[in-house]
């Protein structure tokens, strides 16, 4: 004990000496000011875009951020992707603060909470960083522009037109939704009913059932739908959980290929059902294009082409021209159709 103490004493003393020495050194070097050398690389006009997804390791955001990386590369800027492991707002705040301190020219973020990251974004804006939200918005006052993946009208129309195409524009259809009180689902269903009444008078919506975004419930509701409505020709499921469960049921039933199924789904979940012929075509926005557009919007804010007010317009590389709409929203466009010809190009 005694000798080890002496040894530790030596180590401790050495550590303290080093600490004091380092303190002395860095005090001296404060003359050279580390913060000054810091602003040196941040103060230049180079485009430096920081992508902050809801969380890392999420295939959806890997796809969107890959689009962002391509766009920033095309613009000759510096791209980085940082973010928390778990999708929580407090963890995102740390990355917003860091990006603001580094004087990043823009932050492109999918918000984990519309309000909780607000103060951090406001501070970032005050220090000159432009803020673009994509996928999931904050309250409008906290960001410059929101790049919206799809409008409710576009989402409704894509699915109605899709089912009409697949069943020959006439016959009975049903909707398999998520929860009965899900706001976005109900908004889409209302718009789909409007579209059906206006453009597809021979298609009859006979039932709307709710799978609560639960795989088993959605599976059971699909089975029940097919039993109660023997003449059913098609199902629309505007939820990724619902469409996957319905496809799983259909793929093993004798209705496979006879009852059409479409809706909103992700390529990774739906791949096998497209390949085995259960599903012809389904829809979702393309996250890679979403990230690409968000990066171009960020660059346009940085170089002053747009300020985020309604009517501003900018060019987004291969996607063409875009306009800022009401509330600083930029709309990506119509959803992308996924079918056997293109599904293997996507991984999310």
């Amino acid at each position: 004990m005694r000798t080890i103490s002496r040894r530790t004493a030596v180590i401790g003393a050495a550590a303290l000496t080093i600490a004091l020495a380092v303190t002395g050194c860095s005090k001296a070097s404060t003359g050279g000011s580390p913060s000054e050398s810091g602003t040196g690389d941040g103060g230049s006009k180079n485009l430096n875009v920081v992508f902050i997804p809801k969380n890392l390791g999420n295939p959806y955001f890997d796809a969107s951020d890959a689009g962002g990386k391509t766009a920033v590369g095309e613009l000759g800027g510096k791209y980085s992707q940082v973010g928390p492991q778990a999708a929580s707002p407090d963890a995102q705040v740390q990355y917003i603060n860091t990006a603001a301190q580094q004087h990043a020219s823009a932050i492109v973020i999918s918000a984990n909470d519309p309000k909780a990251i607000g103060d951090a974004l406001t501070q970032a804006k005050q220090s000159g960083t432009k803020v673009v939200t994509f996928d999931s918005d904050t309250d409008p006052q906290y960001r410059d522009v929101f790049v919206n993946q799809a409008s409710p009208e576009g989402i409704a129309k894509a699915q109605v037109d899709g089912i009409a195409k697949q069943i020959g524009d006439s016959g009975e259809i049903a909707i398999l939704s998520a929860a009965a009180n899900a706001t976005n689902q109900n908004a889409w269903i209302a718009l789909m009913k409007k579209d059906l009444a206006a453009d597809h008078p021979n298609i009859k919506l006979v039932d709307t059932v709710y799978g609560n975004d639960d795989d088993q419930t959605s599976f059971d509701k699909t089975a029940a739908l097919l039993q109660t409505h023997p003449n059913l020709k098609g199902i629309i499921s505007p939820t990724t959980v619902g469409i996957a469960a319905a496809a799983r049921y259909l793929s093993t039933s004798d209705k496979k290929g006879k009852v059409a199924l479409t809706g909103l789904g992700t390529p990774n979940q739906m791949r096998e059902y497209v390949k085995d012929g259960t599903v012809k075509e389904f829809y979702l926005w393309n996250p890679t294009d979403l990230g690409y557009l968000a990066a171009y919007a960020a660059a346009a804010l940085v170089d002053g082409t747009i300020t985020g007010k309604e009517g501003d317009s900018f060019k987004a590389g291969k996607l063409g021209d875009y306009k800022v709409g009401a509330n600083g929203e930029v709309l990506l466009g119509d959803p992308t159709a996924f079918n056997s010809s293109n599904i293997d190009q996507f991984n999310f």
């Binding site: 080890i4 401790g12 000011s33 940082v82 740390q94």
Partner: protein, 347 residues
């Protein structure tokens, strides 16, 4: 274990203070800060200090009572759920028009109740705290999420939310640090300078021996779990105001960050050993490392790996040092013909 602890008192006070694990952690905080100060761009800004302290306040607060709990040989895994429950309570009350001050008081009372349930089950029923608090971790979180569902309450008055991230003058130090400093002093006095605090160590070293020497392990544990509950609830109030958002899932997973910091600060998971200054340094060390690495553009998984390795190394270092020290003691005993009083005890 006990012999090591008492043997340490054979050294003069200055040496005991200088050579402890916490001294090493404090030195490490200083060294890492100095390195980052001169090598990491923007680390020298006062903003770094502000953000670092704002981000670690929740952990700093909960680490205080957690240290005492771990020194008794127990653990409280439900703290982050209490943060969530306190946050959800505040949100729910505010939504129903209850005044902010009253909402905060009720949130603190919720913390007392949560802690009392843990403390009763551990202290008086005699159940293992690991099992009890894994249960209440799920229970309290479930209630918290149930209270608010998937919604968040965000319309807290601005004069309350702005206080949470307010800074003292131009120092860059958040005002909430005053609350922490007061609590830190209270807990340091309680643990290191009162009979209650000595009881805490006694229970950790040997619960039976502590009981024989007149320390009530039951009551002490109940008090400690209640303290942990109420401080976690306070942290929940801070968390809610800082982000202006009350959600049932606030601070999910925070319990492991608190316990990691406590262990890094030199507290033994088996109880009986550890000091608060070391724990505070442990929290700051993790904060400084994360902050510096983030500013360097290091990704979150690499930061996790580094902090994880640091924690494992610090845990390994304790038995390794103890073995080295025993070997050295034996050597020095062999050399001396007459043994000093401190060599009478050995393992």
């Amino acid at each position: 274990m006990s012999t090591t602890t008492y043997r340490a008192y054979a050294h003069p006070l200055w040496r005991r203070l200088l050579l402890t694990r916490e001294a090493a952690v404090i030195a490490l905080v200083v060294l890492v800060s100095m390195w980052a100060y001169s090598n990491v761009p923007y680390f020298g800004d006062t903003l770094t200090l502000t953000y670092l302290l704002l981000d670690t306040t929740t952990i700093l607060l909960i680490a205080l009572p957690m240290t005492l709990v771990v020194i008794t040989g127990e653990i409280d895994l439900s703290v982050a759920s209490v943060v969530g429950l306190s946050s959800a309570t505040m949100g729910l009350l505010h939504e129903h028009g209850v005044g902010m001050a009253l909402a905060c008081v009720v949130a603190l009372l919720v913390g007392v109740v949560c802690g009392a349930l843990n403390g009763f089950l551990v202290g008086y029923v005699g159940l293992p705290s690991l099992a009890v608090t894994i249960g209440t971790l799920a229970l309290y979180r479930g209630v918290a999420v149930g209270l608010l569902g998937t919604t968040a309450v965000t319309d807290f008055p601005k004069d309350w939310t702005s206080k949470a991230s307010q800074v003292i003058g131009s120092s860059g130090i958040p005002s909430v640090m005053i609350v922490f400093a007061v609590l830190a002093v209270v807990f340091i006095l309680l643990l290191h300078f009162t009979p209650f605090g000595r009881g805490v160590y006694d229970i950790g070293l040997s619960s039976e021996a502590a009981t024989f020497s007149g320390v009530s392990a039951k009551r002490t544990k109940l008090v400690l779990f209640v303290l942990t509950g109420v401080v976690s609830a306070l942290a929940g109030i801070y968390f809610t105001l800082r982000y202006g958002s009350a959600r049932g899932d606030n601070a999910t997973g925070l319990e492991l960050q608190v316990i990691a910091a406590v262990l890094l600060g030199g507290v033994s998971i088996f109880g009986g050993r550890g000091r608060l200054p070391g724990v505070i340094a442990g929290v700051l060390l993790i904060g400084v490392i994360s902050s510096a690495l983030r500013l360097q553009g290091v990704t979150v998984n690499v930061i996790s790996i580094i902090i994880g390795l640091l924690l494992v190394l610090s845990v390994i270092s304790t038995p390794v040092l103890a073995r080295l020290s025993d070997a050295a003691a034996r050597r020095s005993r062999a050399k001396r013909s007459s043994a000093g009083p401190q060599t009478v005890v050995s393992q």
